[in-house]
Subunit: 753 residues, 2 copies
């Protein structure tokens, strides 16, 4: 028995009184409840009651000294509150008292105070040391190691960029007015250009580092600051600059690439028209060459043929305009021409009209506008003539004779933009997941009414199932997009394949990003709805990613046609019949019967086996390809024109495009993680891959069941395994989101603190 100035009866009340007095103000309800409890407490002597009651007298405010003594007594006991006990405070009091008086029994009156005032550990855990029996997070993995695996060879670029993002110009704030927002974003883009990020993907001679892969990595990071900044940056350096770099020749590079990278020449990419969104080949703007003047005249023929939704349109001095090139009265198809828009004083040049697109759902820091050209003449040399030029004798020349092939070759060079958009979507998803999970690791809701502490949101199975598979997907898509960009940059790659894959992956990943951000918004409840918590802006900014750089529905059909034609370029020329010939030769029914061994295998080893996943995902792709081909053949035989035949299988094509992309993503991920040497981390990444694959198979389970590729038992086993994996990854979830490496200074959401 230690020395103590209070009796045993009084001591047991000390933790309660300390909490009550900690805010320096006794509330009516506290007085009411405690008084009542004291009166009922039969274990107390009259003298003790009197002392305790005197501490409840508000007018007779206690001296700080007395409250300090209580704290010293409590602290000296070295007892910790155990959060998950039924009545943590009552038990705590009992143990503190026992440490001074050898023993102490559970006091029903104390329990009543605890219950009636609803005193939960998270309301007073700043006052005492609290022992949490179940850890919020396991320390098994190190988020820094995970981060460095994700960064891969981009570590240096990424680390520098993260530091650069701490500049005050990138501080987050709520801006509702579009002109204020645009002004800030323009300054940010110029700041990034000054740091050399604008020219990154350009050749060294124009101040670049020829590092398109690094560019993609930092592009994703821009989403942590503001979606508008990322998109404005992408328009200026990727689309406008990219069109000069990829479609122009040395004369254009020498004149414009350096200024563009420095953002001293601001430009836009004028492709889409009001009347023609996805169908770029059908744009109406004409570019007519006149031999006499040696000029090209740009013209908007009809009311709805204006350029639409052009980013950077209000700030730009120049536009890369996509138009039907007419030489000697012949339409040579769509080409890009550089057209000056404004003079030095930023006044529009004659014949040019630009109208602000106004407010949008998101990305209001980007100045989108409509552009009309009224007979605007530019020098012949303004034609970006890498793939098609006008010779000195005034006739058209191109190495690529087939106009469709020429068109798709030009568009193909711009595929990097699609990968970047997917990358930005992924960044948005990572950010939203980080905020929602950090919140779920603090926020408590409901309990079993037997204990005082409520449960963490993250400990609810429904919360785990709604968020953890999405984290696994973020990991898979991270590696997939890294690999995709590597392929795009690699001269040796099959360009047509890269294009097909980029089209499909852009679609599934931007849809994933939207669904993920939405799930995070809902998982944070009303808190997720507040602008300050950042998810709202991410949601609105990322939303349009499903539409721009190619509408997802259209892109998936493109991807599917790529698969069908075995990536033969002729396909895009709409020569459907020749493709069908190819198909009937190449596809046979050998894949229709699944291996019966697989159909009912439900053991963990099998369900975790990447060979099973690959087989399932590829089976789906092959089977869909075959059945589409068969259906089309059937229609053709009945005399249905091929265009109509393809229209009839349109929804089927979209399924194929998705299936193909999912299989490719998994394959890319699995190849990428095979280089991880540390077995512990390799296992973690494999587990994330398992969750991805099973989750995807689960989504299409009805199809697999219809095909008898899996049996009912296996289908159930997969569903259960997805839930179980989500629960198994729960202890590591904090490490996994920290592994995304989002800089602390970008995580401004109060709920993620």
């Amino acid at each position: 028995m230690k020395n103590i100035q209070y009796s045993k009866g009084v001591t047991q009340y000390l933790p309660f009184f300390y909490i009550i007095w900690a805010d320096d103000l006794l509330s009516v309800s506290e007085i009411n409840v405690v008084k009542h409890a004291l009166e009922e407490d039969t274990t107390l002597e009259d003298q003790e009651k009197e002392l305790l009651l005197s501490w409840l007298k508000n007018e007779n405010s206690l001296k700080d000294k007395e409250v300090k003594i209580w704290k010293q007594i409590i602290d000296a006991s070295k007892i910790k509150i155990i959060e998950n006990e039924s009545y943590p405070l009552t038990f705590f009091s009992q143990k503190v008292t026992a440490s001074y008086f050898s023993d102490s029994s559970f006091n029903e009156s104390l329990k009543k105070i605890e219950v009636n005032l609803g005193m939960q550990p998270n309301h007073y855990n700043h006052l005492f040391e609290v022992k949490i029996s179940t850890n919020k997070t396991s320390k098994e993995y190190d988020s820094a190691i995970i981060d460095s695996i994700l960064k891969g060879k981009q570590a240096k670029v990424v680390d520098t960029f993260r530091k650069d993002l701490s500049a005050t110009i990138f501080n987050w704030e709520t801006i509702r007015d579009k002109s204020t927002h645009r002004k800030k974003v323009l300054e940010q883009v110029k700041h990034l250009a000054n740091k050399g990020y604008g020219a990154m993907a350009y050749p060294r001679v124009y101040n670049g580092t020829e590092d398109m892969e690094g560019y993609a990595a930092i592009f994703e990071h821009m989403m942590y600051v503001d979606g508008s900044m990322a998109i404005k940056f992408g328009v200026q350096f990727g689309l406008f600059g990219g069109s000069i770099q990829k479609l122009g020749t040395k004369k254009h590079h020498d004149l414009y690439l350096k200024n563009t990278g420095e953002a001293s020449l601001l430009g836009c990419f004028a492709m889409t028209e009001t009347g023609h969104g996805s169908n770029v080949r059908g744009v109406k703007t004409t570019a007519t060459y006149d031999k006499k003047s040696n000029q090209i005249t740009i013209h908007t023929p009809g009311k709805i043929d204006n350029k639409e939704y052009i980013g950077n349109a209000l700030d730009s001095k120049m536009a890369s305009v996509f138009a039907q090139l007419i030489v000697n009265g012949k339409n040579e198809g769509v080409h890009a021409i550089l057209v000056p828009l404004r003079d030095k004083n930023h006044n529009l040049l004659p014949g040019i009209n630009v109208v602000d697109n106004g407010y949008k759902l998101g990305l209001n820091g980007v100045d989108n506008g409509k552009i009309w050209f009224n007979q605007v003449a530019v020098p012949k040399d303004n034609l970006l003539d890498k793939y098609g030029s006008i010779t000195n004798d005034g006739s058209y020349y191109s190495k690529i004779e087939n106009p469709n092939k020429r068109f798709f070759t030009m568009l193909g060079t711009l595929v990097g933009g699609r990968i970047c958009v997917a990358r930005a979507g992924l960044g948005g998803a990572k950010m939203a997941l980080t905020i929602a999970i950090k919140h779920a690791l603090q926020r408590r809701q409901f309990n079993d009414n037997k204990k005082m502490q409520e449960d963490l949101l993250m400990d609810y199975p429904s919360h785990q199932l709604r968020l953890i598979p999405l984290v696994a997907k973020a990991y898979v898509y991270h590696f997939t997009l890294d690999k995709m960009m590597y392929e795009y940059c690699n001269e040796a790659s099959d360009k047509r394949k890269v294009e097909t894959q980029a089209a499909g992956l852009k679609s599934i990943i931007t849809w994933y990003a939207n669904a993920t951000i939405q799930e995070c918004r809902e998982a944070c409840g009303g808190k997720g709805y507040l602008i300050e918590n950042r998810i709202a802006d991410l949601k609105n900014d990322v939303d349009i990613f499903t539409t721009f750089e190619g509408d997802n529905t259209v892109l998936l059909q493109l991807a599917a046609k790529g698969v069908l034609s075995d990536f033969k370029a002729e396909f895009n020329s709409a020569g459907f019949l020749s493709v069908l010939k190819l198909l009937s030769n190449q596809i046979n029914d050998s894949v229709t019967t699944a291996n019966p061994l697989y159909t009912n295998k439900v053991d963990k080893d099998h369900l975790y086996d990447p060979e099973f996943h690959k087989n399932a995902l590829n089976y789906r792709t092959r089977r869909l390809t075959y059945s589409i081909a068969k259906r089309i053949q059937g229609y053709i035989k009945k005399g249905v024109p091929s265009y109509q035949a393809f229209l009839k299988v349109q929804t089927h094509l979209i399924s194929l495009g998705k299936a193909y992309s999912i299989a490719k993503a998994y394959e890319a991920y699995y190849t990428s993680i095979s280089i991880i040497k540390d077995e512990k981390y390799a296992d973690l990444f494999k587990k994330l891959g398992v969750l991805y694959a099973l989750h995807e198979i689960r989504i299409d389970a009805s199809w697999y069941l219809e095909q008898s590729y899996i049996g009912a038992t296996k289908s159930k086993a997969i569903r259960q395994r997805v839930e179980r994996l989500s629960t198994e990854l729960r202890p590591h979830i904090n490490t996994l989101i920290d592994g995304f490496g989002i800089p602390e200074h970008c995580l401004t959401a109060p709920i993620s603190k």
Copy 2:
């Protein structure tokens, strides 16, 4: 051969020249292309060429008279352009010429002009009469009749309300600044109150019409104006006024109900707390009764115990505050107390602090705020004491002894709000569908490269599949919610059942609304992203409906528990064990084996049979109920505490909640449409029901396959039937969306014109 002043060769060019000259300005590309074609045209005499070339000379601007003559010649021929011909303009020219010169042959030079200038019928159909061979829409059904079926007995209220919405105060505009937006919305709400809509649901003695069903119908319509207006209106009259009406007694009604309905007393509903979102029973705000002063003191004990997200908080003079009522030191559970917030000059009263929640994703016209109470005393009479009162001798009294039952009875009276939120979500979905479908009935994209005209978006199967089932769902949910509100208002209804159903339906319908608006946004591409096209605001406003008036995930568990306990009130008191006893008695395995006759039936009659749909949907509900019960029993037997057992089946419970709600919605729809007498319309509504049911069964096909309730062939047949039904309904889709009856003056989106 009729009289004509031009030769045959010249006449065939007239339609082309007329189109080119119609905009009064010849473009370079037009001159270039036409000149080239004329030079190559071997059918022309030199004289004819000369005349035609002279018409291309820009400087020599033609007199209006000459152009007029061309038009007269064309019109006099009475030929119509046939839109879906391969080269409509060339064929048209040929036919016009033939009408004057007996015959005329197809001219390749004209075709070249048509192709090179990309002249599509939708670019010139304002100049000539165009015959559209496939109708955009069928006239088989009358949208006014459909609308009147939907309005049902609310026709009078709805028609008046629609007219009232044409007042200029409801004109739509883009407002980004929250104070401007809030000001406008407040004025709109007062305007509605002046028209008598605020008091609608109140008793006649307080100027109401006791018409809660009519209230729900007009509430939906408010979404066509502005989501913020609907929610602000709902907070003032439904939540604040509703709490007085439903939880208060005559003394409160007499004092406040009339003023509230007139909006001369603005109030808010202060339930949610920062620390307690969904768990209302766990709110921390205390309301302590002091016998001496006969007052109740309202107090916010901790930092995160403030009222959060309270709509109308900045404009309110009074709040209906939910707090733990403490009488004589005993916590009697959550009760509502009226607390004045501000004086006549709108200054906060002593002890009250209100902070603006700031900008949100949407609903920025609603003033949400946080409220803190610091020892605020109000008279005892301010306790809304219908279900629990303080007697004159200062003790607590309630007819309902069980505190949990009492709590849920109080909340149950407020269930009307949940139905209204679902209704508002439905309104948002209808509006978005109307805009997206009107757009898809005008917008063209791509073609087969063999004809000039591009295809309507609405004619793409993928577009039909993405939008038409959502229209069918809107119809089903319309009738479901009408019926739900009728049940809620009907004194004879089983209140517990109404609550369970409202919880479930609110969840599935608000999720449906969000998914639908998102689909519409994407279906409109970039156009859907512009604020002016309205979908953006609908998206952001409706988003939070999944969270407020009860988080969907929590509500679905509530619904599932309602099903499990066979609606026994004890369930909500967390007396899990007693419920389990009930379950084991009531549920047996009789439903596990499906009727083998059904498993492989794929004929149309069967797939269209409502008995099949009901059987399938109910089978799922019953099977899930049984398997959850079994799993819980298993856990309990192993000694798992019941709370933990329920946690383990949480995701399973959510599935049950959804399944139950879908089955109930279909049932309600089918009962409702049975009163339609006109067979033609009855058939149409039945077809919509088929599409709803098959679409829902399709979504859960993997589960039905796992259960062997359907076989693989049937599963495929259902998928095909969903696609086919979507295509079959395509000709009526314009009528179906017009049937929603959204007032023309509310459809301001330029793309819906």
